[in-house]
Subunit: 265 residues, 2 copies
């Protein structure tokens, strides 16, 4: 349960029991509860700590001066804010909650230490950062090329797959505590049009969404209308190349903080 983030990272790299333990310890230090619709980090802030989401949903977003808002990513339980802390001076976007959340915070130093001592964790965190970049590219494609129906369907597919990967979805069922307004900000559509699009998806029996729970009766059908190809999530790489990390470790190339850690403060 409190291990979501371990499951999350294990999607991305094989971890040793010691890695897992270190991760759990690190994530149990500074716990914090944040209410719904609050900011965790704000654009312009100097990043201080890395946030791990233990429960609840949050999002990365960016605003234009005139009030328009674009969601850039969703954080579901187990997700990590990425490693910007180490390398960029100033947040170029904000992170805000959607539901109440509990987060663990790791300071620069703590994280640097963790990464220096645990090669695989370090690699996993960096790899996770690159996967997030891949997701961002897919969002760009989604907004640029897909129409409203495909766009909404695609986002639902992504969230479902990501939740399933950390065992928060199964049998087509999962929690989806976001509002239609959130969906609108994420897809670049108006709330009204999102509403109509969802109705279309419902009437085609591609999904049922009531309150905060979502049911996808036929994932493949939804994926087909969304033109969804999960490759960009880079799940299941570990299975394909079972010893990639081991070999890397043997070369002494993983871990050791390295470029992971320049505390630019």
């Amino acid at each position: 349960m409190s291990d979501v983030f371990v499951r999350k990272l294990e999607q991305v790299a094989r971890l040793s029991p010691a890695d897992r333990k270190a991760l759990r310890v690190a994530a149990s230090g500074r716990l914090r509860s944040v209410g719904a619709r609050e900011d965790v980090v704000r654009e312009g802030d100097r990043p201080r700590a890395m946030t791990v989401f233990l429960s609840g949903w949050a999002c990365r977003y960016k605003m234009i001066e005139d009030g328009r808002r674009q969601l850039l990513a969703f954080f579901v339980p187990g997700d990590f804010c990425d490693l910007n802390i180490f390398l960029l001076d100033e947040m170029d976007h904000s992170i805000g909650t959607i539901t109440p959340v509990t987060v663990a915070e790791m300071s620069r130093e703590q994280l640097a230490g963790l990464m220096a001592r645990h090669h695989r964790l370090s690699a996993a965190l960096w790899r996770d950062t690159l996967v997030k970049a891949s997701i961002q590219r897919e969002w760009t494609l989604n907004l640029g090329q897909r129409n409203a129906l495909e766009r909404v369907a695609h986002l639902v597919c992504e969230l479902y797959v990501r939740l399933r990967a950390v065992r928060l979805a199964d049998d087509g069922l999962c929690e989806m505590p976001i509002t239609q307004a959130d969906l609108a900000d994420a897809t670049g559509l108006s709330p009204v049009h999102v509403n109509r699009t969802l109705q279309e998806l419902r009437h085609s029996n591609l999904l049922a969404w009531k309150g905060k729970s979502l049911y996808v009766p036929d994932f493949d059908a939804l994926a087909a209308t969304a033109l969804f190809n999960p490759a960009y999530l880079h799940l299941g790489q570990i299975g394909h190349h079972p010893d990639a990390d081991d070999r890397a470790a043997a070369h002494g190339l993983t871990g050791r903080a390295g470029p992971a850690a320049p505390p630019a403060i």
Copy 2:
């Protein structure tokens, strides 16, 4: 001239003469010319080498099965493909040329060696990767929230600023060898509408674009209509925190290949 990529990385981290020299040597090894409208790397490939663009323009793009295409980023002279090579098994997008280009290729091993021996270079390359992620976020915002006029203007602003940063633009003038169709694929608009949008920008005297050369008479005016805020490009951080890298190096936290290097092959 052949130093564009050095100038590029110096935007992002302070380099020592030794760093610069090593970078030049590494980038002078495997040179390759690629014609216009060809692929450098294709989606699904296993990445082998990192590409440095020495001259010419290229782009990152992704396609949907039915033929729709979305540009995800432009590569201008001096740009690096990012460090996906090290951590992801399979390319989730393609990289193709726009004009004829000359590139330098660095193998995994070569790059790992370079990064292990040169702390600052390693940090610079990772930081550049994070800056690219920031740009991708801004593109998402651009596609999701801005209308056609703002969208095109914003992209022009970005390219102009990036070119100026490597001294390929000055006095409002620069080369801009992309077609309106490219612009359309980048902005998620139809080519016809891009054309009309450019005319609008021209008639407002916000830009002049003839053939492959662009003139921006009043950058601030263009930036204002684009709602362009250059913070996301993370230029000029070095000036603000002059010794960030030095301090990082002193902590022994930079360089040393680290997670930079797991050759996942």
